[in-house]
């Protein structure tokens, strides 16, 4: 079983509850720049969407890491903070634009712990959810598959 976050632009209201919940869950404070997902907006067009880590099966960000500090397992990404060079290669490689750096340059990786993630729980419209795919389902990068 593979799990990944999915978001729906049609349902997003741009309220930022997902970012607040994510930063609070990780750092016990509300800071938009510390969340593992972020809300992209085109205000004049009336739309917004949560840009989420899609837990790719063979993630480019992991492949881009020059020293193996970034890895992944069945759930989300794992970062070895000690080993991380803060080079930003993973961020540039991310296929969905979800990966960002914190103010110190460390990539903000989504661990996607078991259970309902805080961003999903906080979204008032159900615009983010966890999709579960059984082994042998369509593989590769979900963004590329679209």
């Amino acid at each position: 079983m593979r799990r990944r976050l999915v978001s729906d632009r049609a349902k997003c209201t741009g309220c930022m509850n997902c970012q607040l919940a994510c930063s609070f869950a990780h750092d016990r404070r509300w800071q938009l720049g510390l969340s593992r997902l972020w809300v992209r907006k085109k205000e004049e067009l009336g739309w917004s969407e949560a840009v989420v880590c899609r837990s790719c099966e063979d993630p480019r960000c992991v492949r881009a890491c020059p020293n193996g500090s970034l890895s992944h397992d069945g759930g989300g990404l794992l970062l070895d903070e000690e080993g991380c060079l803060r080079c930003g290669d993973c961020i540039r490689a991310c296929c969905c634009g979800a990966l960002r750096a914190d103010p110190e340059g460390l990539p903000l990786v989504c661990r996607l712990e078991p259970g309902i993630p805080p961003c999903v729980a906080a979204c008032p419209t159900g615009a983010i959810w966890v999709e579960e795919e059984s082994e042998g389902g369509p593989g590769g990068c979900p963004e590329a598959r679209r």
Partner: protein, 630 residues
């Protein structure tokens, strides 16, 4: 967590930082309270609202930036509409951005020769040229500033062309349509040649007790989601009130000539939701995102889209002006937003003109070629444009509907639907006694958001007796208990505006009372105030603001509604409200008694101000020869 004020003097370019004394932070909380405190001490009688001496105060409260309740910000100044206390607030994302930039209050002083905008990026503050932004509408200003900074995340509070031209009911706009529109705060910025305040913050809000704060907010989130109003607020926002008030016969129609609009179903929130709305939008952090994105799919205005509208704007450009064409109303509201004007006041100007025409009180030359029949689409849109540009009849209305009526003469002044110079909202006080009393005593003039005594629509006799001592307090057509209800509601609203969260969630949906507000302040800020201390902050703010009005010459005589409501009953078509008038005096007596103010002038007593630690305010009034009773 220190409370900080940033002062930007656009005359000299001087930028200063001040820490707000702890007793002021605890005594006024933030937002509206903090603004009113500064306004009282810094902008006194004799200051002309559109002069360099006036100041504009932007403030947020300690709960801006948290999830669940919705973050707002207040803009306050001496009002060019009323000459009294001006204050207005808005939602969207600006308030939270100020929090993350680390500023609780930003004061704009002086006046610039050339157009400027103020940019605040965390600790970095600059005054930047805005000649290229001058003349641009509110949507354009925001887009241009974001483009020039290369940052979609910068939040822009700006004024439109109306403010530049000195239209006194120009507001401050952010996130396209989020408006601090009432009392003319945009006009004051326009007079200072300040086109916008742009803020970007990358900081954190770190709660003092994270687990406690989280638990409280989750409890409130669950409460809101399970609230009986949740679904309809999500679908329609406040526009659901068009049908609701019309059913009660209190939807202000054709300039308050009746409370029933026969075409309400064609311009209702239900119709908007079914045929126009394409997406849901929300303010920062709100658990009940109630805003909507609409699109007109066919007809003359096909392709027009935008966020909103809310009830007041929608009802103002339909029922108030007698217009049954929803597309025209949406277009008129869009124009008001882009010119940067208060929709209620613009609709008051138009419906006033239509009524004067209807009554034969208008000199034929005033209207020119315009057909002033009720609801004429072309007239409505032409007048909005003229007012926004200050051309044609816009010149007449630039100083507000009251000043226009005085100029028109022939008794037109009696027809202006206002209290203290601020036009009334879209609910008829004849069928809403608590709201009517709230209009009369509101410290910013004829408006419902100072009191929002929503409880009077509960129709719950038992609960009314428990809370306010008499069953009548829970029924909109009854008088008894309304003094007590309005007093309580004013204090809750003052606290809400000072925490700077949304009245829909906190007050109308009753998600946070004084007790819970105290617990939130403790968990988020580490402030140890109990429920009574928080209530007292609300009472202190109301009294300080009343003292501001007293200093400007207000007494009981100005706490009145237009005589129409006292003399003319609502017509037969108004159902449950048919035949109702408004009797003010006994309610005012009850209200002043509840407030501890003197009965004949409606001034706070010396004892009351001292009890609220406002002895310095009493001394200020006394020094000016305004002697309060014991």
């Amino acid at each position: 967590m220190a409370v900080r004020t940033l002062r930007v003097d656009v005359s000299s370019g001087r930028i200063q930082v001040e820490e707000v004394p702890e007793e002021v932070a605890f005594g006024f909380i933030g937002g509206r309270g903090l603004n009113s405190w500064r306004l009282f001490w810094e902008v006194g009688p004799g200051v002309e609202p559109l002069s360099d001496q006036n100041r504009v105060y932007f403030a947020i409260g300690p709960l801006d930036g948290i999830p669940v309740l919705g973050s707002r910000f207040n803009v306050s100044s001496k009002s060019p509409m009323t000459g009294l206390l001006g204050d207005s607030n808005a939602g969207g994302h600006f308030g939270a951005e100020m929090r993350f930039a680390g500023w609780d209050q930003i004061v704009i002083e002086g006046a610039s020769c050339d157009p400027v905008y103020i940019l605040v990026q965390d600790e970095e503050v600059s005054i930047r040229p805005a000649r290229h932004l001058w003349g641009k509408d509110t949507w354009q200003v925001q887009a241009l500033i974001r483009e020039e900074l290369g940052d979609e995340g910068v939040q822009v509070a700006c004024v439109g062309p109306a403010a530049e031209r000195g239209v006194v009911f120009a507001g401050v706009f952010c996130n396209l349509v989020r408006a601090a529109a009432r009392t003319g705060m945009g006009a004051v910025l326009g007079a200072k040649k300040v086109k916008a305040l742009a803020v970007r913050g990358t900081g954190a809000l770190t709660p003092r007790h994270p687990e406690r704060a989280h638990a409280l907010l989750e409890q409130i989130r669950r409460y809101l989601i399970n609230h009986p109003d949740y679904a309809s607020r999500r679908a329609m926002g406040t526009t659901r009130l068009v049908s609701a008030l019309n059913a009660l016969g209190i939807l202000a129609t054709r300039h308050f000539r009746t409370g029933y609009f026969e075409a309400a179903a064609r311009v209702s929130g239900e119709r908007l939701a079914a045929e126009y709305n394409v997406a849901s939008r929300g303010c920062f952090g709100c658990a009940v995102p109630c805003s909507r994105w609409f699109r007109i799919r066919s007809g003359t205005f096909r392709g027009l889209e935008g966020e909103g509208p809310e009830f007041e704007s929608l009802a103002a450009f339909t029922a108030r002006v007698g217009n049954d064409d929803l597309d025209v109303a949406l277009k008129a509201i869009d124009l008001c937003n882009r010119y940067g004007m208060d929709t209620l006041t613009v609709a008051e100007c138009i419906s006033l003109l239509m009524e004067l025409h209807h009554e034969g009180l208008l000199d034929g030359s005033v209207a020119g070629s315009l057909d002033l029949g009720w609801g004429n689409s072309r007239t409505i849109l032409t007048l909005v444009e003229q007012i926004g540009r200050r051309e044609g009849l816009g010149e007449l209305f630039a100083a507000g509907p009251l000043a226009a009526a005085r100029q028109l003469g022939r008794g037109a002044e009696e027809y202006v639907m206002h209290v203290k110079g601020l036009p009334l909202i879209q609910a008829d006080p004849r069928g809403l006694k608590g709201y009517g009393l709230g209009f009369c005593v509101a410290t910013r003039g004829g408006d419902h958001l100072r009191a929002e005594p929503y409880f009077e629509l509960s129709f719950d006799a038992e609960e009314a007796r428990r809370r306010f001592g008499v069953p009548q307090a829970g029924f909109p057509g009854e008088y008894l208990g309304k003094g007590k209800l309005v007093r309580y509601s004013e204090e809750l609203c003052a606290v809400c505006d000072s925490l700077d969260v949304c009245k829909n969630t906190m007050v109308c949906m009753e998600a946070v009372d004084f007790q819970l507000a105290a617990r939130l302040l403790e968990a988020v800020c580490g402030w140890s105030l109990d429920a009574e201390a928080v209530r007292k902050v609300g009472e202190r703010i109301v009294n300080l603001e009343r003292a501001y009005l007293v200093r400007e010459g207000v007494d009981r005589r100005q706490d009145r509604l237009p005589s129409r409501f006292l003399e003319t009953p609502l017509p037969a078509e108004c159902g449950a409200s048919a035949g109702l008038t408004f009797e003010l005096e006994e309610m005012l007596d009850e209200y002043y008694r509840e407030r501890g103010w003197d009965r004949d002038r409606g001034w706070p007593t010396r004892r009351k101000l001292e009890e609220l630690d406002l002895g310095d305010v009493e001394a200020d009034l006394r020094a000016r020869g305004l002697v309060l009773r014991e």
